[in-house]
């Protein structure tokens, strides 16, 4: 089990500084939340972790590995999976196929074995199918198994995306606003899934969210981000009392 660490990370887009000298450490098996207003740089942090953006300065490491220069698929291979703020599911495929794609890295055969569908292929596929079915059970989306993504309500799509990330069997799960755009009941469902993933599956979770209430309820540690800078970090009950945070973020919302 490894810690995920940001070391003085700065990320610039031309004149815009999306992240300014941000450092933090997420310990194994913790549930770490990042909050902050729109445009604060939360998604940019995820993109720096998963190799979609490359920090302008600073380092990102996972255990012994410096992952700053890795490609997204290499980061995923180390056991870091994510969801996207604006759902990025494979729309022309079914729920089952989306989740099976998540299990891609657990299958160890190539295109030619795919074409010939050898014995090894069959065995691998069955194993992947088992992983997928367990996740479908867990997320209670059995009735949507064969539905195409586009035909599904938003809340279910969000769940499927979590399922696809879980299928990687990652060590760290990055969730980008999993409850955005959901009603109270759906938010509670998602919170319950997140707690289960954290406690029962024992995964490290980094949660980015707008919904302060949910974050304060479930997170063990919270970082507050504002205009690309780290404003505060600590236990939820400390954060809500922090005067800087109240001024910059809680005050306005």
């Amino acid at each position: 089990m490894s810690s995920l660490k940001f070391d003085n990370v700065t990320l610039k887009f031309g004149g815009i500084t999306a992240l300014n000298n941000v450092s933090f450490e997420v310990k194994p098996k913790s549930l770490y939340a990042i909050i902050g207003p729109n445009g604060a740089g939360k998604t940019s942090i995820f993109n720096c972790i998963s190799g979609i953006y490359r920090p302008t300065e600073g380092d990102v490491s996972f255990g012994e590995n410096n992952i700053k220069d890795l490609r997204p698929d290499q980061v995923a291979d180390l056991g870091i999976a994510r969801t996207f703020q604006n759902i990025e599911l494979f729309e022309n495929m079914t729920v089952l196929d989306n989740i099976l794609i998540g299990a891609h890295r657990h299958l160890n055969y190539g295109p030619i074995s795919s074409l010939l569908y050898t014995k090894k292929t069959r065995k691998s596929e069955l194993a992947a199918r088992k992983i997928a079915e367990e996740i479908i059970d867990f997320l209670e989306i059995e009735q949507f198994r064969y539905s195409y993504i586009l035909s599904l309500p938003y809340g279910v799509q969000k769940r499927v995306e979590i399922g696809r990330a879980l299928a990687l069997n990652p060590e760290v799960l990055l969730l980008d606003e999993p409850a955005a755009g959901m009603n109270n009941e759906e938010t509670e469902d998602i919170a319950r899934f997140i707690i289960d993933i954290h406690e029962e599956m024992g995964k490290t979770i980094i949660l980015v969210d707008h919904d302060m209430n949910m974050v304060m309820d479930i997170a063990e540690e919270v970082m507050v981000l504002n205009f690309g800078e780290k404003l505060a970090e600590g236990r939820p009950e400390e954060i809500v009392k922090d005067s800087k945070v109240i001024d910059a973020y809680l005050g306005v919302s």
Partner: protein, 367 residues
Amino acid sequence: MRGRPNLYTDYNKESAIFSNNTQKSWFFIMVAFSFSLCFTASEYWIYLLTSSFLMSIAAWGLNIVSGFAGQINLAHGFFVGIGTYTSAVLGGIAGANVIGFELDMLIWLPVAGITAAIVGLIIAPITVRLKGLNLGLVTLALVFIGSHLFSNFKSLTGGAGLGRKVARLKLFGIYLENGYQIGDYFLEKNQILYLLSLTLCILCGLGIKNLVRSRAGRAYSAIRDGDIAAEAIGINIFRYKASAFALSSFFGGISGAMFFTVSGGVEPGTFNLLYSIVFVAIVVIGGAGTVLGPLFGAFFYTMFPAIIQLLLHVFEIGEQSLPLNLGQIERILFGLFIISFLIFEPRGLWGIWFRLRNYFKAWPFSY
């Protein structure tokens, strides 16, 4: 826990090549019917069907890279050409200006596919880094480079305007060019080609079906639907795009090797831009990204002139009374078909077939 012990076998059955018995039955009925046509159809129809089978194989190839993996490829005809000339050199007769080794089909057919695949891999460092319009332009350039090479490597291709003879039909050391006697029955050359093409077509079709129900096929579709998400999930998109190009070219190469063996000779000018575009048209009309689409598209394309002839005949319209010649009319109509499909039925002929099938499934008494 009801059914838990059976779970394993259930998934096994579900991911099987035919997910239900109806599909399986239809497959065997169609295969049996196709084989029987070899002995009942006229020479003209045998030729058309043979061409359709081989065009299907090439179209399936393009469908891997364009339909599944979503990468534009305007150079599929170039890869078909690579396969064609590989087979011609390995299996053809040496002439005054061209080389040829008269090897067995067991060698020239697979090597034709493999060579095309290798060429696909050689250009992969460029193609996998591009997408959309840029990829379209690079593949376009490839067609012109290919044409140039084919015209100038005279010892391999015979050169522009002249061409060369293609691979000989020698299988297991037996020359089949003049037919083959099996017991009391004499198989004509065109029947042998029909049977070989049909068999290849079935094998390739099953291969495609295997692809879509397993890891590589899913990875291709993931890249098509969202390359960023695909990468974030652990798919090495460079490697998979490269393998899509290679597999696609393999199918193209095999198809070319057989196709021109049916027609007997080949001239470098064949592999021009239009030739490549035809494959794009076939995939679009048939239904990109589907298993059966390219098959439908290839049959439609190959049979199209025959269908027009038939219509003219039925409606008793003389060719002389037409304002344009037949070839022009065919091309105009075909162009219109492409446009209509793009606008009205992006899933092509497969989409129409799919809706008809569901319509009849929903018929009150079909169960």
